[in-house]
Protein backbone atom coordinates (compact mmCIF):
# COMPACT_ATOMS: atom_id res chain seq x y z
CA UNK A 1 0.00 0.00 0.00
CA UNK A 2 1.43 3.29 -0.94
CA UNK A 3 2.00 5.95 1.60
CA UNK A 4 0.23 8.89 0.05
CA UNK A 5 0.94 11.11 3.00
CA UNK A 6 4.58 11.09 2.06
CA UNK A 7 3.59 12.70 -1.20
CA UNK A 8 1.68 15.53 0.40
CA UNK A 9 3.86 18.39 -0.86
CA UNK A 10 3.61 17.09 -4.40
CA UNK A 11 -0.07 16.55 -4.04
CA UNK A 12 -0.57 20.04 -2.78
CA UNK A 13 1.33 21.35 -5.75
CA UNK A 14 -0.86 19.28 -7.99
CA UNK A 15 -3.88 20.86 -6.39
CA UNK A 16 -2.37 24.27 -6.98
CA UNK A 17 -1.86 23.39 -10.60
CA UNK A 18 -5.49 22.46 -10.80
CA UNK A 19 -6.55 25.72 -9.25
CA UNK A 20 -4.56 27.76 -11.70
CA UNK A 21 -5.63 25.65 -14.60
CA UNK A 22 -9.11 26.63 -13.63
CA UNK A 23 -8.16 30.26 -13.18
CA UNK A 24 -6.59 30.34 -16.59
CA UNK A 25 -9.94 29.60 -18.09
CA UNK A 26 -11.75 32.33 -16.16
CA UNK A 27 -11.67 36.03 -16.67
CA UNK A 28 -8.18 37.32 -16.03
CA UNK A 29 -7.71 39.10 -12.72
CA UNK A 30 -4.08 39.64 -11.91
CA UNK A 31 -4.60 40.77 -8.35
CA UNK A 32 -6.69 37.79 -7.41
CA UNK A 33 -4.28 35.45 -9.12
CA UNK A 34 -1.44 36.83 -7.11
CA UNK A 35 -3.32 36.56 -3.86
CA UNK A 36 -4.25 33.01 -4.67
CA UNK A 37 -0.69 32.17 -5.59
CA UNK A 38 0.56 33.73 -2.42
CA UNK A 39 -1.79 31.64 -0.33
CA UNK A 40 -1.17 28.40 -2.16
CA UNK A 41 2.56 28.82 -2.23
CA UNK A 42 2.65 29.66 1.45
CA UNK A 43 0.64 26.54 2.16
CA UNK A 44 3.01 24.61 -0.09
CA UNK A 45 5.91 25.85 1.93
CA UNK A 46 4.13 24.85 5.10
CA UNK A 47 3.33 21.43 3.79
CA UNK A 48 6.88 20.94 2.62
CA UNK A 49 8.23 21.98 5.98
CA UNK A 50 5.82 19.69 7.70
CA UNK A 51 6.88 16.92 5.40
CA UNK A 52 10.54 16.88 6.29
CA UNK A 53 10.09 13.81 8.43
CA UNK A 54 8.48 11.67 5.75
CA UNK A 55 10.27 8.82 4.16
CA UNK A 56 9.46 5.89 1.96
CA UNK A 57 9.87 4.21 -1.38
CA UNK A 58 7.03 4.83 -3.76
CA UNK A 59 5.92 3.90 -7.25
CA UNK A 60 7.70 0.61 -7.49
CA UNK A 61 10.90 1.99 -6.22
CA UNK A 62 11.20 4.74 -8.78
CA UNK A 63 10.52 7.42 -6.26
CA UNK A 64 12.08 7.91 -2.89
CA UNK A 65 11.07 10.25 -0.14
CA UNK A 66 13.75 10.84 2.45
CA UNK A 67 15.25 13.67 4.43
CA UNK A 68 17.44 14.63 1.52
CA UNK A 69 14.61 14.99 -0.93
CA UNK A 70 12.33 16.64 1.62
CA UNK A 71 15.01 19.19 2.46
CA UNK A 72 15.27 20.10 -1.17
CA UNK A 73 11.52 20.17 -1.49
CA UNK A 74 11.42 22.68 1.31
CA UNK A 75 13.94 24.79 -0.54
CA UNK A 76 11.93 24.53 -3.71
CA UNK A 77 8.71 25.43 -1.99
CA UNK A 78 10.47 28.31 -0.34
CA UNK A 79 11.81 29.44 -3.70
CA UNK A 80 8.34 29.21 -5.17
CA UNK A 81 6.84 31.17 -2.34
CA UNK A 82 9.53 33.84 -2.43
CA UNK A 83 9.25 34.32 -6.16
CA UNK A 84 5.51 34.60 -5.85
CA UNK A 85 6.08 37.27 -3.24
CA UNK A 86 7.86 39.30 -5.90
CA UNK A 87 4.97 39.08 -8.30
CA UNK A 88 2.77 41.69 -6.69
CA UNK A 89 1.73 44.03 -9.47
CA UNK A 90 3.98 42.16 -11.81
CA UNK A 91 4.79 44.05 -14.99
CA UNK A 92 6.84 41.38 -16.67
CA UNK A 93 3.90 39.26 -17.83
CA UNK A 94 0.70 40.46 -19.41
CA UNK A 95 -2.22 40.65 -16.98
CA UNK A 96 -4.30 38.17 -18.90
CA UNK A 97 -1.53 35.58 -18.82
CA UNK A 98 -0.82 35.70 -15.15
CA UNK A 99 -2.89 32.67 -14.29
CA UNK A 100 -0.87 30.72 -16.84
CA UNK A 101 2.25 32.18 -15.36
CA UNK A 102 1.42 30.85 -11.92
CA UNK A 103 0.29 27.60 -13.43
CA UNK A 104 3.61 27.07 -15.13
CA UNK A 105 5.49 28.15 -12.06
CA UNK A 106 3.61 25.58 -10.03
CA UNK A 107 4.17 22.88 -12.64
CA UNK A 108 7.84 23.64 -12.67
CA UNK A 109 8.04 23.51 -8.91
CA UNK A 110 6.20 20.25 -8.83
CA UNK A 111 8.46 18.83 -11.50
CA UNK A 112 11.52 19.78 -9.60
CA UNK A 113 10.16 18.43 -6.36
CA UNK A 114 9.70 15.14 -8.12
CA UNK A 115 13.10 15.45 -9.70
CA UNK A 116 14.88 15.47 -6.37
CA UNK A 117 12.92 12.44 -5.29
CA UNK A 118 13.50 10.43 -8.42
CA UNK A 119 15.70 7.42 -8.10
CA UNK A 120 14.96 5.94 -11.49
CA UNK A 121 16.50 7.24 -14.68
CA UNK A 122 13.17 7.40 -16.46
CA UNK A 123 11.47 9.44 -13.78
CA UNK A 124 14.53 11.59 -13.66
CA UNK A 125 14.38 12.27 -17.34
CA UNK A 126 10.73 13.02 -17.60
CA UNK A 127 10.60 15.28 -14.55
CA UNK A 128 13.58 17.15 -15.81
CA UNK A 129 11.92 17.68 -19.15
CA UNK A 130 8.74 18.84 -17.50
CA UNK A 131 10.54 21.42 -15.43
CA UNK A 132 12.56 22.55 -18.45
CA UNK A 133 9.59 22.98 -20.73
CA UNK A 134 7.64 24.94 -18.23
CA UNK A 135 10.59 27.23 -17.88
CA UNK A 136 11.02 27.65 -21.63
CA UNK A 137 7.46 28.80 -21.82
CA UNK A 138 7.72 30.98 -18.75
CA UNK A 139 10.65 32.73 -20.33
CA UNK A 140 8.76 33.27 -23.54
CA UNK A 141 5.77 34.75 -21.73
CA UNK A 142 7.45 38.06 -21.17
CA UNK A 143 5.46 41.12 -21.94
CA UNK A 144 8.24 42.38 -24.18
CA UNK A 145 7.51 39.60 -26.61
CA UNK A 146 10.44 40.01 -28.95
CA UNK A 147 12.79 39.67 -26.07
CA UNK A 148 10.92 36.86 -24.43
CA UNK A 149 10.66 34.81 -27.58
CA UNK A 150 14.30 35.23 -28.46
CA UNK A 151 15.41 34.25 -24.99
CA UNK A 152 12.93 31.40 -24.87
CA UNK A 153 14.09 30.08 -28.19
CA UNK A 154 17.71 30.14 -27.16
CA UNK A 155 16.88 28.56 -23.85
CA UNK A 156 14.91 25.92 -25.68
CA UNK A 157 17.64 25.18 -28.22
CA UNK A 158 20.36 24.78 -25.66
CA UNK A 159 18.07 22.89 -23.34
CA UNK A 160 16.90 20.50 -26.00
CA UNK A 161 20.43 19.89 -27.16
CA UNK A 162 21.56 19.28 -23.61
CA UNK A 163 18.66 16.96 -22.99
CA UNK A 164 19.55 15.06 -26.16
CA UNK A 165 23.09 14.70 -24.89
CA UNK A 166 21.75 13.59 -21.56
CA UNK A 167 19.44 11.12 -23.17
CA UNK A 168 22.27 9.64 -25.14
CA UNK A 169 24.25 9.36 -21.94
CA UNK A 170 21.28 7.67 -20.31
CA UNK A 171 21.24 5.21 -23.16
CA UNK A 172 24.89 4.46 -22.68
CA UNK A 173 24.51 3.95 -18.97
CA UNK A 174 21.49 1.80 -19.39
CA UNK A 175 23.08 -0.11 -22.23
CA UNK A 176 26.17 -0.90 -20.21
CA UNK A 177 24.56 -1.75 -16.92
CA UNK A 178 21.10 -2.90 -17.84
CA UNK A 179 19.42 -1.11 -15.03
CA UNK A 180 17.82 2.23 -14.60
CA UNK A 181 17.50 2.25 -10.81
CA UNK A 182 20.04 4.37 -9.04
CA UNK A 183 20.25 1.79 -6.28
CA UNK A 184 21.11 -0.95 -8.69
CA UNK A 185 23.51 1.28 -10.53
CA UNK A 186 25.24 1.95 -7.28
CA UNK A 187 25.41 -1.73 -6.60
CA UNK A 188 26.80 -2.39 -10.05
CA UNK A 189 29.37 0.31 -9.60
CA UNK A 190 32.39 -1.81 -8.63
CA UNK A 191 32.05 -3.74 -11.86
CA UNK A 192 31.34 -0.75 -14.00
CA UNK A 193 33.82 1.82 -12.87
CA UNK A 194 36.37 0.68 -15.41
CA UNK A 195 33.88 0.84 -18.26
CA UNK A 196 34.49 3.80 -20.54
CA UNK A 197 30.99 3.51 -21.89
CA UNK A 198 29.61 3.82 -18.39
CA UNK A 199 31.82 6.76 -17.56
CA UNK A 200 31.02 8.58 -20.77
CA UNK A 201 27.36 7.82 -20.31
CA UNK A 202 27.37 9.16 -16.80
CA UNK A 203 29.21 12.29 -17.92
CA UNK A 204 26.68 12.95 -20.66
CA UNK A 205 23.90 12.22 -18.23
CA UNK A 206 25.26 14.76 -15.80
CA UNK A 207 25.36 17.17 -18.73
CA UNK A 208 21.61 17.57 -18.54
CA UNK A 209 21.89 18.81 -14.98
CA UNK A 210 24.92 20.88 -15.74
CA UNK A 211 22.60 22.64 -18.12
CA UNK A 212 20.21 23.36 -15.28
CA UNK A 213 22.95 24.56 -13.07
CA UNK A 214 24.55 26.51 -15.94
CA UNK A 215 27.89 24.81 -15.62
CA UNK A 216 30.40 25.35 -18.39
CA UNK A 217 30.00 24.35 -21.26
CA UNK A 218 26.25 24.18 -20.76
CA UNK A 219 26.09 27.73 -19.47
CA UNK A 220 25.71 29.36 -22.86
CA UNK A 221 22.03 30.04 -22.36
CA UNK A 222 22.31 31.70 -19.01
CA UNK A 223 23.22 35.31 -19.82
CA UNK A 224 20.77 35.68 -22.66
CA UNK A 225 17.96 33.99 -20.80
CA UNK A 226 18.38 35.93 -17.59
CA UNK A 227 18.44 39.04 -19.68
CA UNK A 228 15.48 38.06 -21.80
CA UNK A 229 13.20 36.55 -19.18
CA UNK A 230 10.77 38.58 -17.14
CA UNK A 231 12.34 39.57 -13.84
CA UNK A 232 10.44 37.15 -11.57
CA UNK A 233 11.07 34.33 -14.00
CA UNK A 234 14.75 35.07 -13.98
CA UNK A 235 14.57 35.08 -10.22
CA UNK A 236 12.95 31.68 -10.29
CA UNK A 237 15.55 30.30 -12.68
CA UNK A 238 18.33 31.62 -10.53
CA UNK A 239 16.97 30.22 -7.31
CA UNK A 240 14.62 27.25 -7.35
CA UNK A 241 15.86 25.78 -10.58
CA UNK A 242 19.45 25.86 -9.33
CA UNK A 243 18.52 24.24 -6.08
CA UNK A 244 16.87 21.33 -7.82
CA UNK A 245 19.86 20.86 -10.10
CA UNK A 246 22.19 20.72 -7.12
CA UNK A 247 20.00 18.18 -5.42
CA UNK A 248 19.90 15.81 -8.33
CA UNK A 249 23.56 16.29 -9.16
CA UNK A 250 24.41 15.27 -5.64
CA UNK A 251 22.24 12.20 -6.03
CA UNK A 252 23.91 11.24 -9.27
CA UNK A 253 27.45 12.16 -8.33
CA UNK A 254 27.57 9.15 -6.06
CA UNK A 255 27.91 7.09 -9.20
CA UNK A 256 31.01 8.84 -10.46
CA UNK A 257 33.63 8.19 -7.85
CA UNK A 258 36.53 7.50 -10.18
CA UNK A 259 39.52 9.77 -10.57
CA UNK A 260 38.31 10.54 -14.05
CA UNK A 261 35.17 12.11 -12.71
CA UNK A 262 36.97 14.07 -10.11
CA UNK A 263 39.21 15.46 -12.82
CA UNK A 264 36.42 16.28 -15.16
CA UNK A 265 34.36 17.91 -12.46
CA UNK A 266 37.38 19.87 -11.32
CA UNK A 267 37.97 21.12 -14.84
CA UNK A 268 34.34 22.08 -15.19
CA UNK A 269 34.30 23.73 -11.80
CA UNK A 270 37.35 25.80 -12.59
CA UNK A 271 36.10 26.70 -16.03
CA UNK A 272 32.70 27.70 -14.74
CA UNK A 273 34.03 29.84 -11.95
CA UNK A 274 36.55 31.53 -14.13
CA UNK A 275 34.34 32.13 -17.10
CA UNK A 276 31.45 33.27 -14.98
CA UNK A 277 33.48 35.68 -12.95
CA UNK A 278 35.50 37.06 -15.81
CA UNK A 279 32.51 37.68 -17.98
CA UNK A 280 30.55 39.23 -15.15
CA UNK A 281 33.16 41.92 -14.67
CA UNK A 282 32.25 43.81 -17.77
CA UNK A 283 28.48 43.67 -17.50
CA UNK A 284 26.24 46.65 -17.13
CA UNK A 285 22.92 44.84 -17.14
CA UNK A 286 22.32 43.72 -13.60
CA UNK A 287 20.51 40.55 -14.58
CA UNK A 288 23.15 39.53 -17.03
CA UNK A 289 25.72 40.07 -14.34
CA UNK A 290 23.75 37.88 -12.01
CA UNK A 291 23.57 35.24 -14.72
CA UNK A 292 27.32 35.05 -14.96
CA UNK A 293 27.54 35.10 -11.23
CA UNK A 294 25.22 32.07 -11.22
CA UNK A 295 27.60 30.31 -13.56
CA UNK A 296 30.39 30.96 -11.10
CA UNK A 297 28.33 29.86 -8.12
CA UNK A 298 27.65 26.62 -9.97
CA UNK A 299 31.38 26.15 -10.21
CA UNK A 300 31.74 26.51 -6.45
CA UNK A 301 29.02 23.96 -5.87
CA UNK A 302 30.80 21.48 -8.10
CA UNK A 303 33.77 21.73 -5.75
CA UNK A 304 31.65 20.24 -3.03
CA UNK A 305 30.23 17.58 -5.28
CA UNK A 306 33.57 16.46 -6.58
CA UNK A 307 34.76 15.78 -3.08
CA UNK A 308 32.61 12.67 -3.42
CA UNK A 309 32.00 12.24 0.26
CA UNK A 310 29.16 13.08 2.63
CA UNK A 311 30.89 16.21 3.85
CA UNK A 312 31.08 17.48 0.30
CA UNK A 313 27.48 16.64 -0.44
CA UNK A 314 26.40 18.31 2.76
CA UNK A 315 28.42 21.35 1.80
CA UNK A 316 26.84 21.46 -1.63
CA UNK A 317 23.42 21.17 -0.04
CA UNK A 318 24.22 23.92 2.39
CA UNK A 319 25.45 26.06 -0.43
CA UNK A 320 22.31 25.42 -2.43
CA UNK A 321 20.38 26.95 0.42
CA UNK A 322 22.81 29.83 0.52
CA UNK A 323 22.48 30.43 -3.21
CA UNK A 324 18.73 30.38 -2.89
CA UNK A 325 18.74 33.09 -0.27
CA UNK A 326 21.45 35.24 -1.77
CA UNK A 327 20.30 35.11 -5.34
CA UNK A 328 16.74 35.69 -4.32
CA UNK A 329 17.75 38.80 -2.45
CA UNK A 330 19.53 40.13 -5.51
CA UNK A 331 16.53 39.48 -7.67
CA UNK A 332 14.23 41.00 -5.15
CA UNK A 333 16.18 44.20 -5.72
CA UNK A 334 16.05 43.66 -9.46
CA UNK A 335 12.29 43.34 -9.39
CA UNK A 336 11.81 46.34 -7.15
CA UNK A 337 14.20 48.56 -9.03
CA UNK A 338 12.99 47.64 -12.48
CA UNK A 339 10.71 50.13 -14.14
CA UNK A 340 7.86 48.34 -15.82
CA UNK A 341 9.16 45.46 -17.82
CA UNK A 342 12.66 46.89 -18.26
CA UNK A 343 15.85 45.28 -17.23
CA UNK A 344 17.59 47.33 -14.59
CA UNK A 345 21.18 48.30 -15.25
CA UNK A 346 23.65 48.61 -12.45
CA UNK A 347 23.35 52.39 -12.62
CA UNK A 348 19.65 52.08 -11.95
CA UNK A 349 20.51 51.02 -8.42
CA UNK A 350 21.71 54.54 -7.69
CA UNK A 351 20.14 55.99 -4.61
CA UNK A 352 18.88 52.68 -3.36
CA UNK A 353 20.42 53.21 0.04
CA UNK A 354 18.43 56.39 0.45
CA UNK A 355 15.02 55.30 -0.72
CA UNK A 356 15.15 51.71 0.45
CA UNK A 357 17.79 51.38 3.13
CA UNK A 358 16.72 47.98 4.33
CA UNK A 359 16.71 46.56 0.86
CA UNK A 360 20.08 48.11 0.17
CA UNK A 361 21.36 46.45 3.28
CA UNK A 362 19.94 43.13 2.17
CA UNK A 363 21.56 43.60 -1.22
CA UNK A 364 24.86 44.32 0.45
CA UNK A 365 24.65 41.19 2.55
CA UNK A 366 23.70 39.12 -0.47
CA UNK A 367 26.56 40.47 -2.53
CA UNK A 368 29.00 39.89 0.27
CA UNK A 369 27.64 36.41 0.60
CA UNK A 370 28.07 35.72 -3.07
CA UNK A 371 31.57 37.14 -2.77
CA UNK A 372 32.27 34.91 0.18
CA UNK A 373 32.78 37.52 2.83
CA UNK A 374 31.93 36.52 6.38
CA UNK A 375 29.84 36.57 8.42
CA UNK A 376 27.31 35.86 5.72
CA UNK A 377 25.92 32.53 4.72
CA UNK A 378 27.88 32.59 1.48
CA UNK A 379 31.12 32.52 3.36
CA UNK A 380 30.09 29.68 5.61
CA UNK A 381 28.95 27.73 2.60
CA UNK A 382 32.22 28.28 0.82
CA UNK A 383 34.12 27.34 3.91
CA UNK A 384 32.28 24.04 4.04
CA UNK A 385 32.85 23.42 0.35
CA UNK A 386 36.51 24.21 0.57
CA UNK A 387 37.01 22.20 3.71
CA UNK A 388 35.45 19.21 2.07
CA UNK A 389 37.60 19.61 -1.02
CA UNK A 390 40.72 20.19 1.02
CA UNK A 391 40.11 17.03 2.96
CA UNK A 392 40.42 15.24 -0.34
CA UNK A 393 43.63 17.05 -1.12
CA UNK A 394 42.34 19.45 -3.75
CA UNK A 395 44.46 22.33 -2.59
CA UNK A 396 45.00 23.89 -5.99
CA UNK A 397 41.33 23.81 -6.71
CA UNK A 398 40.56 25.65 -3.51
CA UNK A 399 43.22 28.21 -4.27
CA UNK A 400 41.83 28.83 -7.74
CA UNK A 401 38.38 29.12 -6.27
CA UNK A 402 39.61 31.70 -3.80
CA UNK A 403 41.26 33.69 -6.56
CA UNK A 404 37.97 33.59 -8.35
CA UNK A 405 36.25 34.84 -5.28
CA UNK A 406 38.52 37.86 -5.34
CA UNK A 407 37.80 38.52 -8.99
CA UNK A 408 34.11 38.24 -8.33
CA UNK A 409 34.34 40.78 -5.55
CA UNK A 410 35.29 43.35 -8.10
CA UNK A 411 31.92 43.30 -9.74
CA UNK A 412 29.99 42.77 -6.57
CA UNK A 413 31.61 45.86 -5.23
CA UNK A 414 30.70 47.67 -8.40
CA UNK A 415 27.09 46.86 -7.74
CA UNK A 416 27.45 47.90 -4.16
CA UNK A 417 29.02 51.14 -5.26
CA UNK A 418 26.00 51.86 -7.41
CA UNK A 419 23.62 51.07 -4.59
CA UNK A 420 25.47 53.00 -1.97
CA UNK A 421 27.10 55.97 -3.52
CA UNK A 422 26.02 56.74 -7.00
CA UNK A 423 23.75 59.73 -7.00
CA UNK A 424 20.59 59.08 -8.99
CA UNK A 425 19.55 61.53 -11.63
CA UNK A 426 16.85 63.64 -9.99
CA UNK A 427 14.10 62.83 -12.46
CA UNK A 428 14.61 59.08 -12.27
CA UNK A 429 11.74 57.24 -10.59
CA UNK A 430 12.85 55.75 -7.34
CA UNK A 431 12.00 52.67 -5.41
CA UNK A 432 9.28 52.72 -2.82
CA UNK A 433 10.02 50.37 0.00
CA UNK A 434 6.69 48.89 0.97
CA UNK A 435 6.20 47.31 4.33
CA UNK A 436 6.04 43.71 3.03
CA UNK A 437 9.23 44.31 1.07
CA UNK A 438 10.89 45.67 4.15
CA UNK A 439 9.84 42.61 6.07
CA UNK A 440 11.05 40.34 3.30
CA UNK A 441 14.39 42.14 3.18
CA UNK A 442 14.76 41.87 6.90
CA UNK A 443 13.97 38.19 6.77
CA UNK A 444 16.61 37.71 4.11
CA UNK A 445 19.19 39.66 6.08
CA UNK A 446 18.40 37.57 9.11
CA UNK A 447 18.69 34.35 7.14
CA UNK A 448 21.99 35.35 5.62
CA UNK A 449 23.64 36.72 8.70
CA UNK A 450 22.24 34.50 11.41
CA UNK A 451 22.82 31.29 9.55
CA UNK A 452 26.13 32.60 8.29
CA UNK A 453 27.26 33.34 11.77
CA UNK A 454 25.66 30.48 13.60
CA UNK A 455 25.33 27.70 11.03
CA UNK A 456 25.28 24.84 13.48
CA UNK A 457 21.74 23.61 12.92
CA UNK A 458 21.73 23.90 9.18
CA UNK A 459 25.04 22.08 8.98
CA UNK A 460 23.69 19.29 11.13
CA UNK A 461 20.61 19.04 8.97
CA UNK A 462 22.50 18.93 5.69
CA UNK A 463 24.89 16.39 7.10
CA UNK A 464 22.09 14.11 8.09
CA UNK A 465 20.49 14.57 4.70
CA UNK A 466 23.70 13.91 2.83
CA UNK A 467 24.43 10.84 4.87
CA UNK A 468 21.40 9.24 3.25
CA UNK A 469 22.87 9.59 -0.19
CA UNK A 470 25.93 7.43 -0.23
Amino acid sequence: MMNWIALSPELWMLATIGVFLGRSMMRPDAGRDHLLALVTSAVALGVALAGTGFSGELFAGTYRVDLFSQFYKCLLAAGFFLVVCLCDGMQGVREDLQAEFYLLLAVCTLAMMMLVSSVHLLTLYITLELSSYSLYILVSLRRDRARGIRAGLKYFLVGAAASAVMLFGLALVYGTTGTAYLIDLLAALPVQTGQPAFSIGLLLLLGGFFFKLAIFPFHVWAPDVYEGAANPVAAYIATASKVAAVGILVRLAVLGTTAYFVHVLAVLAIASMTIGNLAAITQTDFKRLLAYSSVAQGGYILIGILSMDPAGYAAATFYAFAVLVMKFTCFMVVVQVAVGDKNPTIEDLAGLHRHAPVMAMALMMALFGLGGIPPTIGFTGKLLLFTAAMAKGHFTLVLIAMINVVISLYYYLKVLRAAYFLEPSPDAPHVQETLPMKALSLAMIAAMVVIGFYPNHLIELTRRAAALIS
Binding site: L122, L157, A164, L167, F168
Partner: protein, 103 residues
Protein backbone atom coordinates in the same frame (compact mmCIF):
# COMPACT_ATOMS: atom_id res chain seq x y z
CA UNK B 1 21.03 -13.68 -33.32
CA UNK B 2 20.91 -10.27 -34.88
CA UNK B 3 23.93 -8.04 -34.46
CA UNK B 4 26.16 -7.16 -31.57
CA UNK B 5 24.79 -4.43 -29.30
CA UNK B 6 27.77 -2.32 -30.17
CA UNK B 7 26.58 -2.12 -33.76
CA UNK B 8 23.25 -0.78 -32.64
CA UNK B 9 25.13 1.71 -30.55
CA UNK B 10 27.24 2.67 -33.54
CA UNK B 11 24.15 3.26 -35.62
CA UNK B 12 22.63 5.34 -32.89
CA UNK B 13 25.90 7.23 -32.54
CA UNK B 14 25.99 8.00 -36.24
CA UNK B 15 22.45 9.29 -36.15
CA UNK B 16 23.30 11.39 -33.15
CA UNK B 17 26.26 12.80 -35.01
CA UNK B 18 24.10 13.74 -37.96
CA UNK B 19 21.63 15.41 -35.67
CA UNK B 20 24.34 17.23 -33.85
CA UNK B 21 25.95 18.57 -36.99
CA UNK B 22 22.58 19.65 -38.26
CA UNK B 23 21.81 21.45 -35.05
CA UNK B 24 25.09 23.26 -35.06
CA UNK B 25 25.72 23.89 -38.69
CA UNK B 26 22.42 24.55 -40.47
CA UNK B 27 21.50 28.15 -40.68
CA UNK B 28 17.82 27.66 -40.36
CA UNK B 29 15.87 27.37 -37.16
CA UNK B 30 13.53 24.74 -38.52
CA UNK B 31 16.45 22.56 -39.50
CA UNK B 32 17.91 23.07 -36.08
CA UNK B 33 14.76 21.76 -34.46
CA UNK B 34 14.82 18.95 -36.97
CA UNK B 35 18.34 18.10 -35.91
CA UNK B 36 17.21 17.93 -32.31
CA UNK B 37 14.53 15.46 -33.31
CA UNK B 38 17.12 13.33 -35.05
CA UNK B 39 19.22 13.30 -31.91
CA UNK B 40 16.27 12.16 -29.83
CA UNK B 41 15.57 9.47 -32.35
CA UNK B 42 19.16 8.33 -32.15
CA UNK B 43 18.87 7.92 -28.41
CA UNK B 44 15.68 5.99 -28.88
CA UNK B 45 17.48 3.53 -31.16
CA UNK B 46 20.11 3.01 -28.52
CA UNK B 47 17.49 2.38 -25.87
CA UNK B 48 15.71 -0.17 -27.90
CA UNK B 49 18.99 -1.96 -28.55
CA UNK B 50 19.89 -1.85 -24.90
CA UNK B 51 16.50 -3.07 -23.92
CA UNK B 52 17.02 -6.08 -26.14
CA UNK B 53 20.48 -6.64 -24.85
CA UNK B 54 19.34 -7.02 -21.23
CA UNK B 55 15.90 -8.22 -22.16
CA UNK B 56 14.41 -5.65 -19.85
CA UNK B 57 11.55 -3.37 -20.66
CA UNK B 58 12.83 -0.23 -18.99
CA UNK B 59 14.58 0.81 -22.17
CA UNK B 60 11.49 0.46 -24.24
CA UNK B 61 9.50 2.34 -21.65
CA UNK B 62 11.92 5.19 -21.94
CA UNK B 63 11.42 5.30 -25.69
CA UNK B 64 7.74 5.94 -25.19
CA UNK B 65 8.59 8.95 -23.12
CA UNK B 66 11.17 10.04 -25.62
CA UNK B 67 8.46 10.11 -28.22
CA UNK B 68 6.26 12.11 -25.92
CA UNK B 69 9.05 14.56 -25.25
CA UNK B 70 9.80 14.74 -28.95
CA UNK B 71 6.24 15.73 -29.55
CA UNK B 72 6.41 18.39 -26.89
CA UNK B 73 9.70 19.55 -28.22
CA UNK B 74 8.50 19.97 -31.70
CA UNK B 75 5.33 21.73 -30.70
CA UNK B 76 6.99 24.15 -28.33
CA UNK B 77 10.04 24.54 -30.52
CA UNK B 78 8.12 25.21 -33.66
CA UNK B 79 5.79 27.56 -31.83
CA UNK B 80 8.81 29.52 -30.72
CA UNK B 81 10.27 29.48 -34.21
CA UNK B 82 7.05 30.74 -35.65
CA UNK B 83 6.78 33.43 -33.04
CA UNK B 84 10.33 34.47 -33.75
CA UNK B 85 9.59 34.44 -37.43
CA UNK B 86 6.67 36.75 -36.84
CA UNK B 87 8.87 39.16 -34.95
CA UNK B 88 11.80 39.18 -37.32
CA UNK B 89 10.50 37.84 -40.57
CA UNK B 90 13.17 35.25 -40.81
CA UNK B 91 14.15 31.87 -39.51
CA UNK B 92 17.82 32.75 -39.57
CA UNK B 93 19.21 31.98 -36.10
CA UNK B 94 21.50 34.94 -36.39
CA UNK B 95 18.48 37.22 -36.13
CA UNK B 96 18.35 36.19 -32.50
CA UNK B 97 21.61 37.93 -31.80
CA UNK B 98 21.54 40.88 -34.14
CA UNK B 99 18.31 42.27 -32.86
CA UNK B 100 19.67 41.72 -29.40
CA UNK B 101 22.44 44.13 -30.06
CA UNK B 102 20.08 46.77 -31.37
CA UNK B 103 17.57 46.32 -28.59
Amino acid sequence: MIVPYSHVLALSGLLFLIGMVTTVARRNLIMVVLGLEVMLNAAAVAFVGASLRWELLDGQALVIFIIAVAATEVSVGLALVVAAYRKTGSVDPEQLEETEASA
